[in-house]
Symmetry: D2
Subunit: 338 residues, 4 copies
């Protein structure tokens, strides 16, 4: 942390600023110039309340030097975190993890059928929503508990680990029992109560980036979960909100690189929600792998025109199979396998 004093500060003001910094457990270096005086913090400045120091009389501004997240920070954990999804699939290692399945679970036939298809094509895990966050209270809200049960049947039939979204802290216990990876949706990325409680579970958490979350805020939300004791966080880039309306959101692939540099956590990309259009999924999946993503999460539906939600962005099992073929070749170009 660096503090710049205002022109004309008094000795008392300087002392107060130094004390406020020292109270946070750092040593303070003072550089007095004829016009500018600068205070530098030596040591871990994370316990200093930057805002408070910035408001002290005589202080012009405070500049942060280090990241506010620790457990998620690559600086303190240089090696990539590899997370076991269950059933020998992992994310974060050399092998790409492709998670596939319908937006929502609709029937046993549908979810088991899709699970079998994507399994044959090489998917590492099955996604499917049982509790759905919908903009409208009048839209289909998911099958709920019954959806979870059907996902378990699909798992029994295929061996694929299950990834599904949690909407309520009321369901945490049940999810911990019944689900392999608990997904936190973009709209809940800063539902801190949910994050805290998920920090006490033992299941991997797939944490989607919020629609307008900076990379730092996203990592801070991962930090919430990790601070509670659960280190197994999978980040998921799914598009951010911008002025552009052609796509549902704007897929930010540079965020994949940024997050891999700043953090040791694995990151996957969701091209389906980012683009909102099935025809874009193949190419954006390939771009994500080329950029360095550790995996993908893709919406696959046996009958997109009759899907109960997000049909427009779902690809068919055949399209998924073709995509997996292309990804296999591409993975080699970037030193990965599928």
């Amino acid at each position: 942390m660096v503090v710049i004093m205002k022109a004309g500060f008094t000795t008392d003001q300087l002392e107060s600023a130094v004390k406020a910094m020292e109270a946070g457990g750092v040593k303070v270096m003072v550089s007095k110039g004829s016009e500018t005086t600068i205070l530098g913090a030596e040591g871990d400045a994370s316990r200093i309340d930057q805002e408070k120091v910035s408001m002290l009389p005589g202080v012009d501004r405070v500049m942060r030097v280090s990241e506010p997240y620790k457990k998620a920070n690559r600086k303190y954990h240089p090696d990539n975190t590899v997370i076991d999804l269950g059933n020998s699939a992992t994310v974060g290692g050399d092998r790409l993890a492709v998670i596939a399945g319908p937006c929502s679970v609709e029937s046993e036939e549908q979810i088991v059928g899709v699970a079998e298809s994507v399994k044959r094509s090489g998917a590492a895990a099955l996604r499917g929503g049982a509790f759905k966050p919908r903009t409208s209270p009048y839209a289909f809200q998911g099958m709920g508990n019954e959806g979870i049960r059907l996902l378990q049947e699909a798992k029994a039939a295929t061996g694929l680990p299950i990834v599904t979204e949690i909407m309520s802290t009321d369901n945490i216990e049940m999810f911990e029992m019944c689900v392999d990876v608990i997904q936190v949706g973009a709209r809940n990325m800063q539902n801190f109560d949910l994050l805290k409680q998920l920090g006490h579970t033992t299941k991997p958490i797939l944490l989607k980036r919020g629609l307008s979350s900076t990379i730092e805020e996203w990592l801070m939300s991962a930090e919430y979960i990790m601070a509670g004791g659960n280190d197994r966080v999978i980040l998921c880039e799914r598009g951010i909100r911008t002025f552009e309306t052609f796509t549902r959101n704007t897929l930010d692939l540079s965020a994949v690189l940024a997050v891999k540099k700043l953090s040791h956590l694995p990151v996957v990309v969701d091209p389906s929600h980012a683009c909102g259009q099935a025809w874009m999924v193949e190419r954006m999946s390939m771009a994500a792998v080329a950029a360095g993503a550790d995996g993908l999460i893709i919406e696959v539906h046996n009958d997109p025109p009759h899907a109960k939600c997000d049909g427009a962005q779902s690809i068919t099992p055949d399209q998924f199979d073709a995509l997996m073929g292309r990804l296999g070749a591409l993975a080699q170009c970037v030193g990965r396998s599928l």
Copy 2:
């Protein structure tokens, strides 16, 4: 709803599209031209699944004509909704409602002291956070239940109704007992589980606009609460996330006008969170009232430099008193009282 058929559609495709629309309970008008064929829905098209129709073979695109929210829609409820905050204060009528208080409750002395000050200056209600949404898990998270108890003491001392943020569905019962207005923060605006459960409470809900929520999404979140049976929603514009970094967020005052036109619900403005800087609060409060806001929610702290959070954007009781004086004169220019 209007459906445009693709060039070269077949008779079967046309019939399927018509049937899909009729299944939603509307009458369909067909306009066949030599190049373009258009289907128009006659009646309430809200039960038609627009996405599904858009994916039918032969359909080029679907355009929505009416708003997806009903209970929040001024079209069906032309008169302004006036909400009783308790203790004779209302929001949505001619009289402006100014809600004031610290970002977070810190001590009995602090909250009672601030409450007494803002009451003297004419505040309609007291705000104060007991459960705080913080970006960092390591930052002060609020006093919790003890904070609620201190708010009640401040209410006992001043008669001011209490406005405070809810973070967890676990607290709904307690909030319903102890609090006058339940605030939903910007980060929880699409926490649909919370919204649904708040729909079953009897307390007014102050619903902050999400950082990147469109006006329509904001009204749909109000609709979630109203669909559950709670019609008393107060909208709160608190700045949106844009590329500009000088201010913490960008206060969107045109949203106040938009919401007043589209909806019958009252809308208040939070200049403190929008700007993030105390020196901007007075002028942006005045601008909000000139724009037509039904009230304001302002952070006031007895000792901003020592506030446990958001001190930089808090004004002092004296500054608040001066602001109230200026607002009184301004209110008259726009046909309101304070």
Copy 3:
């Protein structure tokens, strides 16, 4: 400027960094700590190439402390700049300047008629486009030179100074002869060639903020004009591009406060282009004045439904007259006159 060295930097690297800073004409203070070493610049750091220093080996990062604009900076020119528009109207003083007129000049009858109306209502100057920036090459592009001639006739009839947009450096000489205030549109805010050449004119420049320009970039564009010798720049906030689509752009009234604090230049607000809807103009004009704008620029058309462009956002002369009445009362509340 503050430079943070990387952990493990060498003595040579430190010396290079110090030299690079000293080459920019500053004295350098070095604070060595056991973990962090900080270099602070003493004096005017504006000639140091920050990017270059940031790339030196051993340098972790560079943080700028002072603003990159000087002539536009209030720090060096504490008093408000008051600009004479011609014919005794000024902008930047106690009296608000309201510039009004049609989007584009369409005929002698139209422009003279509107000029007479807005003059009666108290406008300080007449706006009207002769050269129009249109998104489509197939849309009406303005009357060109003939439009300028008609503006001059309107000036002759009413005495109102003329404000009109320049699209091409080819027209600078003609504009300098025929026009009172030269407007630079939002899309040309970083047309640096145009800005440079306008710096050599003697006419006031109304500089609109770019659709996605930060406040700093906007002031840097003013600096371009001022660096050329023309100090008479009027800033104009006209809405920024955000994710929200209800309004054409999002009017950023906090930018008015920001710019008044950072700079001594006057700032006016264009609610017509910001909102894109005539019914919003009155309230957003009032909000702008309450926020502290030095004036407004408003589209007024005698027959909006038949306007050649921007009819949807134009108000009628009668509506303008009513607005001026309301603004007069409001101005007093904020210590201004109209």
Copy 4:
């Protein structure tokens, strides 16, 4: 075009709306329902002034059905446009075109040296700025005419066609004589005067997307150039402005897919300006090719730490050579060659 009438419209109003549409040369279909009446345009609606019709009494809203651009529209030109850059290099065909070179021309040694390096690595053309758009009037503005002369020397030495940015219409004649591809920078994307004049040149135009330009606005700017008679427009995605600050801009690779679908024009990607950080260039280049870009434009500097501008985002000739190697393998995965 589809027009929705307001509830309670009169026969006269309906007739006026129909006439206004017919005046634009279309046949009008009228669908009367008991609640909703819809008018559909049959034929080319591009000459109807949509805004004007939307303001007619009795009209509720107008919805556009077709794109406003024609010459740039793939609908009317299904085949990919392939543009000859000179010297046998093309963009838009199977072979990827990689344009490389320094941000700005600094000396003969520098530009010829970089040209020789990138030529050896397989670049199709040389980029280098002679006229530089800089945010600050005090920053290096480029070598001007001398820079163009040096680019010509580099071309003489290597045979590489030259791509360089135009800042002023004053230079068009000279650029047409001396340059192979004329670049229009992001800040000038809606400098309509410049676009119009470039429409009369015979050189390919590399048109960068504006920082906050929608895909439609970008294609409309291409249309400006094409409407003037110059069909050779190369689109360039270079990142858009969003709330995220980790990268200089947010590279929007889905825009590549969108533009390839909507238009027949070739599109290249500039990862250097998008990310602003050299270490991100390799991976984002690969992602761009995977997404389907027709080429890349990459900043390569022989000595980035001493570059006169944008050193932080420039890669070295060695890094460029390595990147070209990786791109070669990747190109095959997507059915392209390098």
